[in-house]
Subunit: 194 residues, 2 copies
DNA sequence: AGCACCATGTAAGTGGTTACATGATTCC
DNA sequence: GGAATCATGTAACCACTTACATGGTGCT
């Protein structure tokens, strides 16, 4: 842990939207920012404890009529300040590591079908995700019809981001598959000529 | 270490392109797949040792006329087989975590300038990267003029991917900045009306 | 009664970076 | 002779995931 700024502020940021339990934080992250962020329970619960210890959040535990173990965490004034400071700080350029792209890059060292399969899998995945993002987009539009909150506006920006990336990715997959086919056809005819 | 499949095969894949030293692997990764992959020396050297121990690569050390410590590693027949097997295996959907997007998502909890700054920084970064990708694209086109190797073809696919993503990202940044401006203008006029 | 989901937490392991230590070679 | 780059390696640390343990609550 020590100075695990990312998870810490991701969780604090979620509490900034509304008070939540650890379990809710997980679900909420999955639904809203799952496209580019994730947190595991193994991270969430210790961080929540840490946030309380640092005075950045308060725990209100023991809501009757529900599971008595359930604890709802709320961001504190200090927490809001800490979050704002972190938000103002320039984001580190994060190291993305795409296993799929790596396998496509090395595709020359496998048979041509391998690359094709990776791209097809990617394409299927993207189309599935696009459907999900469209649903989120619709839900957001409906919720913020009339007056759009600050949070809704910013959520909308990230949804637009996801959508744009997915559309571009789908386009790349389709183009790449055509290139693969074309290359295979040329390769085949070359062999015939020998 | 144990079963660090990703780094292991990223490095083995580089050796599959041509024999290299640890240092060259690092540079080569940065130049060709730096857009979506990275390896640190702290990872490369132990993995190279491991690859030799497992019989997936051979070390030819002690080239006179150059630094005598320099060791060039070469993929073995067994290594090629292991690489092909790994390549054929479906890629896990990797967890991307974008700190910048996270900060934009939480932007409603900071002043509007914060979000704007993050997007502007992103835009600058993307434009810079696009220039770099274009250079790689040109170099690749020149190198593979006439006959294009399998490796060149697959490298081209990943470069096209990078380019497409960057163009989409730049577009998103520009649109988002306009949305921010528009929202700020509306917000200001609202306050004037109060 | 049983399943799905809500709910919290810990321990072990993983996959990786960063910082450090050390030094050779090349080019100006 | 000094800077840049080539070159290899280790140790400490870090953030995070996975698997495990445990059990409540609500619906059918």
């Amino acid at each position: 842990m020590t100075e695990n700024s990312n998870s810490k502020f991701a969780i604090l940021g979620m509490l900034g939207i509304r008070p939540m339990s650890g379990y809710e934080i997980k679900k909420s992250i999955e639904r809203s920012i799952g496209f580019f962020w994730s947190e595991s329970f193994g991270q969430i619960y210790p961080v929540l404890k840490q946030l309380v210890a640092e005075g950045l959040a308060n725990a209100q535990n023991g809501d009757e009529s529900r599971d008595s173990r359930r604890k709802v965490y709320e961001i504190s004034t200090q927490g809001e300040k800490a979050l704002r400071e972190w938000l103002a700080f320039s984001a580190r350029t994060n190291l993305i590591r795409s296993e799929a792209l790596l396998k496509i890059f090395f595709g020359g060292q496998a048979d041509p079908e391998t690359t094709r399969k990776h791209i097809e899998r990617e394409l299927t995945e993207c189309r599935r995700k696009l459907v999900a993002v469209n649903k989120v987009e619709q839900a957001l539009a409906q919720r913020s019809a009339g007056r759009q909150t600050e949070n809704d506006f910013h959520h909308g920006l990230t949804v637009a981001y996801g959508k744009k990336m997915l559309i571009a990715l789908i386009d790349w997959c389709e183009t790449s598959l055509r290139l693969c086919s074309w290359r295979e056809a040329v390769g085949a005819s070359k062999e015939e000529l020998l």
